[in-house]
Symmetry: C2
Subunit: 602 residues, 2 copies
């Protein structure tokens, strides 16, 4: 056991020097400035008090620096996971009360435990259930839901609804209540942030600022918007005119919190915690791998699960919310020159200072400002072009993507992602449940065998050689039964059937039972079953099975061996036995000789 593997901090801390320190410190300052408004906004999106977002950006970052394997991933609250948190916690508690906060802590702890267990048990492959089209569709739909949900803060109206259509309808009904000062603030911030994205960087570049500082300044636009609108609201007393503000935020370091142990609540939140864990992990690991590759570094996905899991556990113990690696802030961190996860720990110090000292200043921060920040961030997640790109490549993938988008919009995040995963699995099984197989014949004068439909080959009406081009497992086992019995029915003179297995890497228990059924049914039909070209590891396992003893035929090394021997023995022993029985006027007793279809039902 290599401690460096389980404590990645040991890989870089011993070599830490002044140069690294100054790079990391600079990156930390820049990420802190970007993270403050994001933390507040995503806490609001999750339906939690703003300070919870700050708390979730302190301890988790320090813990990730110890256990995480990415050198530059910036951990904290992110949009999609915050939306999923709101959806999950909203089902068990009503927003604003202490139960809501408590349930969010439980959700965070569960997500942390799930991730850690998955990492320790090396279950990272579970994330493979989320195909790219599903996660892409899911994030697009989430972005639309989040943007629609924030629009009400921009308008200053009440609105509620479980899913997108209800939410929009509710907003329409309250449209007359729109608060003008709120709308002005919201639209100004929206316009400013879009302008900053579009014109600030080119403008700075033209003004002679070099590329990196220009980019950094652009990323700081949200904090400028926060400062300006807070100041304006305070100076003009806009809260008196109906502008909703963040209000009193307690100053101080994160509290120690102990998530509750109510088993009923844990059970209710389990599926949500699992989905949040997997979605968060998939996103985080994708960002981490992209950044690591730029410096030829590696991240270890299983250890990464532990890193994110322990971060979430830390978050749940310090009054936080679910966290994961964020895309935009990780890129900023990387580009600002962060060299080690110490940059994350320094960011945590920055946020802690903000939590201690800056909270009194944000009492007058308008909610509309945060809403505009969120809208700008999430609308860039919406990628409807992906539907078109995928459409031109694969119809079944686009079906999974569209189903995920539609169900997420209409039925919510959990149903959406589960339908998408279910459908992509079903489509995959459908594809592999009809594996390519071909009846082959001998290319005259050679030892090669080719598809009888494509080539002029020698065949024998008493012998069929079926080449299967896929591993045999439960999804295609029954298809093989159908295919073989089809051949036996169409070729009444058939006496010998050979399965050529050069492409079969695995035969699972279901396929083994199918082979047994095929063998028994062929036997009843007077046809012997043989195998050829079975790979070593597959044969090793077959040798200890009943099938191997009950098989009416033999296992040949090569298809050619089978061809040579079976053409010679066309009056094989089984058909002789069957002919004999027919002559004697008996036939196999169908009840006692019946190969019990296993499992059976009466």
């Amino acid at each position: 056991m290599n401690p460096k593997r389980y404590l990645p901090i040991l890989q870089w801390l011993p070599h830490y020097d002044r140069g690294t320190l100054s790079s990391d410190l600079l990156a930390a300052v820049i990420v802190t400035i970007m993270l403050i408004p994001q933390s507040l906004a995503y806490a609001m999106l999750a339906g939690l008090p703003p300070e919870v977002g700050l708390y979730a950006s302190i301890a988790p970052l320090v813990v990730y620096a110890v256990f995480g394997t990415s050198r530059t991933l910036a951990v904290g609250p992110v949009a999609v996971v915050s939306l999923m948190t709101a959806a999950a916690v909203g089902q068990v508690a009503s927003q604003g009360g202490p139960e809501y906060l408590g349930a969010a802590l439980v959700l965070t702890l569960m997500s942390g435990l799930i991730l850690t267990v998955m990492g320790v048990a090396r279950l990272g492959f579970l994330a493979n259930f989320l195909s790219h089209p599903v996660i892409s569709g899911f994030i697009t739909a989430s972005g639309l839901i989040i943007a629609a949900g924030q629009a009400k803060h921009l308008l200053g109206v009440e609105a509620s609804g479980q899913h997108l259509p209800q939410l929009l309808a509710s907003m329409m009904r309250h449209l007359s209540d729109v608060n003008l000062p709120t709308l002005v603030i919201g639209l100004s911030v929206l316009a400013f942030l879009y302008a900053a994205r579009r014109w600030l960087k080119p403008g700075l570049l033209r003004a002679g600022v070099s590329a990196r500082p220009a980019d950094m300044l652009t990323k700081a636009a949200p904090i400028l918007a926060v400062a300006a609108t807070t100041l304006a609201t305070w100076a003009l007393g806009l809260d008196q005119y109906g502008v909703a503000v963040v209000g009193e935020v307690p100053a101080g370091l994160p509290p120690l919190t102990l998530p509750g142990l109510d088993m009923g609540l844990w059970r209710e939140l389990f599926v949500a915690a699992l989905l949040i864990s997997i979605v968060g992990f998939v996103e985080s690991v994708s960002v981490g791998q992209t950044l690591a590759a730029k410096r030829r570094q590696r991240i270890d996905p299983d250890q990464e699960l532990v890193g994110l899991g322990t971060s979430n556990i830390a978050s749940s113990l310090t009054g936080g919310m679910p966290v994961t690696g964020g895309f935009a802030r990780s890129v900023v961190n990387f580009d600002a020159g962060a060299e080690t996860p110490a940059a994350g720990a320094f960011t945590a110090v920055g946020i802690a200072v903000a939590a201690l000292l800056l909270t009194p200043l944000i009492a007058y921060l308008p909610i509309a400002t945060l809403a505009a920040t969120i809208i700008v961030a999430v609308l860039s997640l919406v990628d409807l072009g992906a539907v078109k790109r995928t459409w031109s490549y694969s119809r079944s993938d686009v079906a999974a993507m569209l189903a995920t988008i539609a169900m997420t919009l209409l039925q919510g995040v959990e149903v959406g992602i589960m339908v998408g995963v279910g459908l992509s699995l079903a489509l995959h099984l459908y594809r592999t449940s009809r594996p390519h197989s071909a009846l082959v014949g001998r290319v005259p004068g050679t030892e090669h065998f080719r598809n009888v439909e494509r080539h002029t080959v020698e065949t024998d009406e008493r012998l069929a050689i079926l080449r299967v081009d896929e591993s045999l497992y439960f999804a295609n086992a029954r298809f093989l039964e159908d295919t073989v019995m089809d051949i036996a029915t169409r070729q009444p003179s058939l006496e010998q059937l050979v399965l050529a297995c050069q492409a079969v890497n695995v035969i699972d228990a279901s396929a083994l039972e199918s082979l047994e059924a095929i063998n028994a049914r062929l036997k009843d039909a007077g046809v012997m079953l043989h195998l050829a070209e079975v790979k070593g590891p597959v044969m090793d396992r077959l040798q200890h099975t009943d099938f191997c003893h009950e098989m009416t035929g033999k296992v040949f090394l090569s298809t050619f061996d089978a061809w040579q021997e079976l053409r010679g023995h066309s009056d094989g022993s089984l058909s002789r036995r069957c002919a004999e029985m027919q002559r004697l006027g008996t036939r196999p007793d169908p009840i006692n000789d019946l190969p019990q279809p296993h499992p059976r039902m009466r």
Copy 2:
């Protein structure tokens, strides 16, 4: 469109003659005798009045004769499906009331519609989700639950419980209430049925009766038990001593029934109806295929779905319950000489006569007799040996089987089957998510390339050739990313990487995105990506993608072509470009050049 395909009755009815008629009539008489006690017993198992079992054995058999493709399958209520019916309907209505009966009709109709739609849409592959180990474990566990549930009727005590442990505990608590006459009847029938199974047939054979009649007589043992105990109960007035009896059963033909259209109820029952449909179909098709093979006949699984679906629709319209092909009775039907599905229609006539005339006679039929019949039938379903057999062959299959058994016993049939399906899918994905791949080198002096770890081959430190032995799809896409980046990290001198794709039959959209990510990350690391031996259909689709244009390297026809060209160009264009950029003191802008990890999150 071939009408014979969709109306299989057209395949045999035109050729129907007297010989076939007499064979079918004989089989129908024997199956009728067997089916009467089974119908009554399985209706009771489903929590329904006994006549419902009879009704379900009339119209469905006629409809199956029209639409079904098996010549000898005997359709009707079966044990496992009846248990699933009780579990599903019990969750929405309490047993005994009209709501319960109504919900059962809705469940039957839904199951019929689901099966028919699956058949018409050719969705039979969905049954592949049920791997053999899962269905075997499920049926074993169901058999145990059914036997335990019937034990209370044998003892004449009250007991209830959602799952096996509660049921057993409840039975223990009521053990003092045991009714002695009931117990005597129950144990006598149990002993008689076991004795008949074990000794009756050998005894008859020794007495000179030939094999088939001996077997038929053995199968008729339950009807003898029914007759004897009914007579005894009536004659001795045992119902006065606490022996529970079937009671008044209305005589008459099946009523016309219209299942309700309450959408809430439909939604609640949907999952159960889906599971019942799939479990019933898998069992039925397995029996049907086994029997068809004995006469070199074929059954068409998709049309079989239509046959079973329309049978269930018919059942729901005539006061019945869910039906499917039963194992034991189909074997009896086959062995009694049934040649066409007309035997089923004649059986329906027999049951109709029983429903009209015999119902007054069964008022004194003890429940304990039916319970004993069920116990004997279902205990033969319990196949714990399958666990051992599977254990020796495949650990992952045995895990799925044990999980199914445990969850079915502890959490009920629906949870059990879903956990089993989920786990077997997860284990399958786990297996394929780590496809075999090998770095290959050139066998000196040849054009062959072999695994560098197994053979002495030529390699080049600036060139890596990775052979992937599996189709690329979502479950292994990320593994490929890991493998490639691992190679790039471990081989710092690497400049060219070739993916040899001779075994890649499909590249789905997820794998395409992974290839794009691999290409971009390798580019950042100064490594060019090439493909070799791409199959025709795969290349056709790749050609229209962005990946094909963005790929830093080329597509080579053969691995050897790649080897020859890339060894010569070790100072390839990309590494030259990178070297140049380093010389100029710039590097690719990580924000704007960043290949957006797709989908992305901020």
